[in-house]
C-alpha cells in the first residue's frame, strides 16, 4: 500500500536527541532509532547554505532549523517539497501562538499538547487543517475544561 505524502515528522535538537516523533507508517523500535540516527546525522552535518532537501533511501527529508530545534519531515518522492517547507513553518507558527514564544523546553514538557496540535494538522500522512484558529480551538477547549 503506497503511503500518503508525509511518512513521519520529527523534532530533534542540535545534540541529536529526539523531542517529538510522529510516524505515519509502521516501523519497529530498532528501525526507528536507526532511522532517526541516520537522518539526524545527515541533516546536522549540513550547513546553512545547503538546500533543505535530503534524499534518503527511497524518500526525501525536508528539514528546517528553528533556533536549537530541527524539524524534519519525511515525505514521499513525489510530494511538493516547497509545500512541506510551508507546512513546517505553519506548524511552528501554530505552536508559537499556543505556547507564546515557543521553545524546545515547551515542547518537551508539554509533549502531549504538541502531539494534539500535530494530530489536528496531519492525519494519516496528509494535511487536514491549515487554519491556526481551527487547529487550536479543540485544544483551548480542553484546557478550559481541565
Amino acid at each position: 500500500m503506497k503511503e500518503m505524502g508525509i511518512r513521519f515528522i520529527l523534532m530533534v535538537n542540535k545534540q541529536g536527541q529526539t523531542r517529538l516523533a510522529q510516524y505515519y507508517e509502521w516501523l519497529t523500535l530498532e528501525e526507528r532509532r536507526a532511522l532517526e540516527g541516520e537522518i539526524v546525522r545527515k541533516c546536522l552535518a549540513r550547513n546553512e547554505q545547503q538546500c533543505s532537501f535530503v534524499e534518503h533511501r527511497n524518500y526525501k527529508i525536508v528539514y528546517r532549523r528553528y533556533a536549537s530545534l530541527f524539524f524534519l519531515v519525511g515525505v514521499e518522492n513525489d510530494e511538493n517539497e516547497l509545500a512541506i517547507l510551508e507546512f513546517i513553518h505553519l506548524l511552528v507558527e501554530t505552536m508559537d501562538r499556543h505556547f507564546g514564544n515557543v521553545c524546545e523546553l515547551d515542547i518537551m514538557f508539554h509533549l502531549e499538547k504538541a502531539h494534539f496540535m500535530l494530530e489536528e494538522m496531519v492525519m494519516n500522512g496528509s494535511i487536514v487543517e491549515t487554519s491556526k484558529a481551527n487547529i487550536l480551538s479543540p485544544i483551548q477547549l480542553m484546557e478550559k475544561a481541565s
Partner: protein, 876 residues
C-alpha cells in the same frame, strides 16, 4: 516521597531524565520509572493512569520498549472523561500499530465513540481510526464513517474525509460507497473540508478508475471554479500565508487537476485558462508562491499537450534554475527531469546551467544535476559533456567521485562514436579515479581494446604513458599490465603508430621495469600481481633478451605467502626453464573476445544458444557442453579469484594458457586475429578443461594431466588444427603429485589415440567372495556424456544363483538406463551380462559413482549384496 512513585508528575520525570549525564544513568532512571508504572498498572490505579501513560509515551519516544502499557490505553479510552480519552487515544496511536491484535479490542470503543454526542469525542475516534486502523476494523466501521461524511460540523467532516482515505486504501472494494459523498465535499466552502475532500478524491482516483471517470466528468468544472475563486479572492486572514490565500489548498487542487487531466484532452482544455492565470499571476519572491508555481509546472507537464502552456512552464523552470536559493534550484532540477520525457528540446537549452549545477557545493543539487545530465546526453553532445564531466572529476570530493565515475563510464560506453575516443576517455577516467571504477568496466575496456586491432599499438603506448604518471589507480595498473604483456612488442617497436601520436622510445628493460613496478608496489593487490606475473611470462617470450631478468623477478615470488602468486611463479618458472620449446606457443596473442557475447553476458542474459564450431570444419568428439559465453568470461575472470579458491585460479591459469595455446599454431608470429571459428575451438577445449573451483590442488593437476596430453600433440603437430580427442590415460590417477612432475613426464607418455572415442579400461566394480561384477566401458563418438557400460557378473561360488536381480542408484547429475540382463540365472562359475547406459550431465566435472544392490536366491534362500562403485575412470 519516593521520586519514582507513580505520583511523579511528567515534568519531574523529564527533569530527572535530563539531569542524567550518561546513557547508563538514563537507562537506570527509565527502568525505575517503568517499574513504578508497571506496579501502578497491576494495582489498577485509576487516578494517575493518564499521567502514567504520558510518561510512557515520553519513554517510548526515547526508544525504550513500552508494550506493557498497551492495555492501559484501552482502559483510558473506555473511561468517560474527555482528558482520559484524549490521552488514551494519543497513547493508542503512538504505542500501537495496526498489526497488534490488541487493536481489535478497541473496535467496540471506537464504535461507541463514533456515535457519541460530543463532537470532539467523535473527532478523537475518527483521528485514531484514520491513523491506525487495520483492514478488519475498516470494514466494520466504514458505514459509520460514511455517515459522518455528511455530519453537520465541518471539523468532523474533514476528519471523516481523511479517515475514509485510509479505509479505501485498506479495503479498496469499499471505494464505490465513497464516490458520491466525496463529490459533494468538493462543493464545500470550508477550507479544511475542501482540502481533505480534494485529497479523498485524489486517492479515490488512484484506487478506482471508475471514480476517476466520474470525477472527470462531473467535477472538473467545479474544481476549476474553486481554484479561480481562490486565486481571485480578497485577503482572508485565516488562511493567508505570505499574501496568498491558502497555498496548501492551491497545491492540492492543482494535484487533483493533474490526475484528472492526464490522458484526457477535454479536461485539460478546461484547465488551461486557470493554469495560465496561476502561472503568471503568482508572485515568486516568497516560498509559498514558489511552491504553487512548482506544482503548477508539474501539472502543466502532466496534462495533455498545450504548446503555449508548456513554454510558459519551461520558462518558469529556467527562472528557478538561476535563482540563488538552493531549494528552488533543487526543485527545478527535479521537475526538469520529469520534463525531459515531455519536451527534451527545451531542457537541452538549459544544458549549460545544469552543468554548472553539477559543480555546485551542495551535495543534493550535485546529485540531481548529475542525474539530469545523464538523461540529457545523446550522440551529438556526448563529447563536450564528457569532457566537462571528466574535468570535474579531478576536483570533486571523494564520496561524489564514485557516483560520478559510474555515470561517466556508462555514458562513455553507451554513446562512444568511435573506439579511439572510448579508449581515450576511459584512460582519463582510470588515471583519475581508477579505484572507483567497477570491475566490469575495465573488463569491458580490455574487450574493446582487444577488438580494435588497429589501435593496439596506440592503446599500449597511451597506457604506458599513463602508467608512468599515476600508479596508484589499481584498475589502471591492471589494464596497463595486461596490455604491456599482450602487445609489448608493439610498444617497443612503435608499431601501428597513428598520426596523432608522438613517438616514444621504450626499451625492453623499460617495459619490464613497468611490470616490475606493478609487482613490487606494496599497494598492489593479488589480482594485479597475478596479472603482472603472467604479463612477464608473455614478455619473456616476446623479448627473449630479457628472459633472465624476468625469470629472476618471477622467482622472487616463489615463496610468497599467497598461494596464487606462489603457484604462478613456480609454474611459470618451470615453463621458462624446462619448456622453452612450447613457451612461444603458450603465450601467443589472446584470441579476440567476442564483444557481443561479452556485453550480452554483462547485461545478465547468458546466451543459451550454443555456437557450433563450423569454422574449423572438424567434428570434435567432445561436443560443446556449455554455452559459448561462459568460458569467454572465465578467461578474464581473474578478479573473482581474489576470494580464497586459489586452485580455481590455477584452473583459470590453465585456461589462460590454453586460451593462447589454441590460436593457429601455423602462424605463431601473426598479429592477425584468429577467426571466430578458432575461438570456438578454444571454447571447445575449455569446455573440456573447465572445472568448478576444486578445493585441492590435486584436481588442478588432474586437469593438467588430461589437458597437457593434448598440448603435446598440438605442439608436435604443427599446423594441424585437429584436436586429438581426449585420451584419458588410465595411468593418470588423481594423485596429488606436484605439477612439475606431470609436466616432466609429458612428452614421453604414449598417446592412446582412438579415433572412434576413447578407450577406457574395464574395471572390477564389485567383488565379494561369491560374486564379481566388472564393467566394460565404451563411448559413442559425438556423445561424450553418455557411457555404455557392459556389466558382467561372474559367479565365484559353486552354487547356482536364481532370480538374479541387479539394481543401481546414481546421484542426481547422472541418468541411468538399465537394459535387461542376458539371463537371471547365474550358473555356478558362470557369468551373465547386462548393459546399461549412463549419461553424465556434469561430464568432465564429476566422475560417475553408483550404488549397487544385487539380489539373488541360493536354494530358495534370499541373498542381498550391496555396495558402492567409486573407482570409475575420471573422465566418464
Amino acid at each position: 516521597m519516593n521520586p519514582f512513585s507513580s505520583g511523579t508528575r511528567l515534568r519531574d520525570m523529564i527533569r530527572a531524565i535530563r539531569a542524567c549525564k550518561t546513557a547508563a544513568e538514563e537507562r537506570a532512571v527509565v527502568r525505575k520509572e517503568c517499574a513504578a508504572i508497571r506496579a501502578a498498572i497491576s494495582e489498577n490505579d485509576q487516578d494517575y493512569r493518564h499521567r502514567n501513560l504520558a510518561k510512557l509515551m515520553f519513554i517510548h519516544m526515547l526508544g525504550y520498549p513500552t508494550h506493557f502499557g498497551q492495555m492501559e490505553c484501552l482502559k483510558l479510552i473506555a473511561s468517560s472523561g474527555f482528558p482520559e480519552k484524549r490521552i488514551g487515544y494519543l497513547g493508542l496511536m503512538l504505542l500501537l500499530d495496526e498489526r497488534q491484535e490488541v487493536l481489535m479490542l478497541v473496535t467496540n470503543s471506537l464504535k461507541q465513540d463514533l456515535n457519541h454526542s460530543n463532537q470532539y469525542i467523535i473527532g478523537l475516534a475518527l483521528c485514531a481510526l484514520g491513523n491506525i486502523c487495520s483492514a478488519e476494523m475498516a470494514r466494520d466501521l466504514a458505514p459509520e464513517v460514511e455517515r459522518l461524511l455528511q455530519f453537520r460540523d465541518p471539523n468532523i467532516r474533514k476528519k471523516a474525509a481523511l479517515c475514509s482515505i485510509r479505509i479505501i486504501k485498506k479495503v479498496p472494494d469499499l471505494a464505490e460507497n465513497f464516490i458520491n459523498p466525496a463529490a459533494s465535499l468538493l462543493r464545500e466552502k470550508h477550507h479544511g473540508v475542501l482540502i481533505t475532500g480534494v485529497q479523498l478524491c485524489t486517492d479515490l482516483c488512484k484506487v478506482s478508475s471508475e471514480a476517476l471517470e466520474y470525477f472527470r466528468e462531473k467535477c472538473t468544472d467545479g474544481l476549476v471554479k474553486t481554484l479561480r475563486d481562490m486565486a481571485n479572492s480578497p485577503y482572508a486572514p485565516e488562511y493567508d500565508v505570505a499574501g496568498i490565500t491558502d497555498p496548501f489548498l492551491h497545491i492540492r487542487l492543482l494535484k487533483l487537476m493533474r490526475i484528472l487531466g492526464q490522458g484526457d484532452a477535454d479536461a485539460s482544455d478546461c484547465m488551461n485558462d486557470i493554469l495560465a492565470q496561476v502561472a503568471t499571476k503568482i508572485e515568486s519572491n516568497k516560498n509559498a508562491g514558489n511552491a504553487i508555481l512548482y506544482e503548477c509546472v508539474g501539472t502543466i507537464m502532466g496534462i495533455e499537450d498545450n504548446g503555449g502552456l508548456r513554454v510558459l512552464a519551461v520558462n518558469i523552470l529556467g527562472r528557478f534554475l538561476s535563482n540563488r536559493d538552493n531549494n528552488i534550484r533543487y526543485v527545478a532540477l527535479n521537475m526538469l527531469m520529469k520534463a525531459m520525457t515531455v519536451d527534451s528540446q527545451a531542457v537541452q537549452r538549459h544544458r549549460a546551467t545544469i552543468l554548472e549545477c553539477v559543480k555546485d557545493s551542495d551535495a543534493s543539487i550535485r546529485k540531481k544535476a548529475l542525474d539530469l545530465v545523464y538523461l540529457l546526453v545523446n550522440e551529438s553532445n556526448v563529447k563536450p559533456l564528457t569532457k566537462d564531466l571528466i574535468e570535474y572529476l579531478e576536483t570533486s570530493d571523494q564520496d561524489f567521485k564514485g557516483v560520478l565515475t559510474d555515470k561517466i563510464c556508462s555514458l562513455v560506453e553507451k554513446f562512444s562514436p568511435e573506439k579511439i575516443w572510448y579508449i581515450d576517455q576511459m584512460l582519463k577516467v582510470l588515471s583519475e579515479a581508477g579505484n572507483f571504477v567497477k570491475d566490469e568496466v575495465w573488463h569491458a575496456l580490455i574487450v574493446v581494446i582487444s577488438n580494435a586491432s588497429d589501435l593496439h599499438g596506440y592503446s599500449v603506448r597511451a597506457l604506458y604513458r599513463a602508467f608512468q604518471t599515476s600508479t596508484e589507480q589499481e584498475s589502471l595498473v591492471r589494464v596497463a599490465v595486461w596490455c604491456i604483456g599482450e602487445y609489448g612488442d608493439m610498444l617497443i617497436n612503435n608499431i601501428g603508430m597513428l598520426d596523432i601520436e608522438e613517438p616514444i622510445t621504450v626499451t625492453y628493460s623499460d617495459a619490464v621495469d613497468a611490470v616490475e613496478v606493478a609487482i613490487k608496489r606494496h599497494t598492489s593487490d593479488i589480482t594485479t600481481k597475478a596479472m603482472a606475473l603472467i604479463a612477464l611470462l608473455k614478455l619473456s617470450s616476446r623479448f627473449p633478451s630479457c628472459s633472465e631478468r624476468i625469470k629472476d623477478i618471477i622467482l622472487q615470488n616463489k615463496q610468497s605467502f599467497v598461494l596464487e602468486l606462489q603457484q604462478r611463479s613456480i609454474e611459470f618458472n618451470c615453463i621458462l626453464q624446462k619448456h622453452q620449446n612450447i613457451r612461444a606457443a603458450l603465450v601467443e596473442r589472446m584470441p579476440v573476445l567476442d564483444e557481443a557475447t561479452f556485453s550480452g553476458r554483462r547485461a545478465g542474459s547468458l546466451p543459451t544458444s550454443v555456437s557450433t564450431s563450423t569454422g574449423t570444419g572438424h567434428s570434435l568428439p567432445n561436443g560443446i557442453a556449455k554455452p559459448a559465453a561462459a568460458p569467454v568470461t572465465d578467461l578474464l575472470d581473474l578478479s573473482s579469484d581474489d576470494a580464497p579458491a586459489p586452485s580455481s585460479s590455477g584452473v583459470d591459469f590453465l585456461q589462460d594458457l590454453l586460451g593462447v595455446d589454441l590460436s593457429p599454431a601455423s602462424a605463431p608470429q601473426s598479429t592477425s586475429r584468429p577467426p571466430k571459428g578458432s575461438a570456438d575451438v578454444l571454447l571447445d577445449l575449455l569446455s573440456i578443461g573447465a572445472s568448478p573451483p576444486a578445493q585441492s590442488n590435486s584436481s588442478a593437476s588432474d586437469m593438467l594431466s588430461s589437458i597437457q596430453d593434448n598440448t603435446a600433440p598440438l605442439a608436435n603437430l604443427n599446423g594441424l588444427l585437429s584436436l586429438s580427442p581426449l585420451s584419458a590415460n588410465a595411468t593418470s590417477p588423481a594423485s596429488p603429485a606436484p605439477v612439475m612432475d606431470l609436466l616432466d613426464g609429458f612428452g614421453s607418455s604414449p598417446q592412446k589415440k582412438a579415433e572412434n572415442g576413447p578407450a577406457y579400461p574395464s574395471l572390477v566394480a564389485y567383488e565379494s567372495s561369491s560374486l564379481r561384477m566388472s564393467f566394460n566401458f565404451s563411448k559413442q563418438p559425438g556423445n561424450p556424456q553418455t557411457t555404455l557400460i557392459q556389466a558382467t557378473f561372474t559367479n565365484l561360488s559353486p552354487n547356482v544363483y536364481n532370480d538374479f536381480l541387479f539394481q543401481a542408484a546414481v546421484p542426481k547429475f547422472l541418468q541411468l538406463h538399465l537394459d535387461s540382463a542376458s539371463s537371471n540365472i547365474l550358473p555356478a562359475n558362470g557369468s551373465i551380462s547386462q548393459s546399461m547406459k549412463v549419461t553424465n550431465s556434469q561430464h568432465g566435472k564429476k566422475s560417475l559413482v553408483m550404488r549397487i544392490r544385487i539380489a539373488y536366491k541360493i536354494n530358495d534362500k534370499d541373498v542381498l549384496e550391496e555396495g558402492q562403485v567409486n573407482n570409475f575412470p575420471r573422465d566418464l
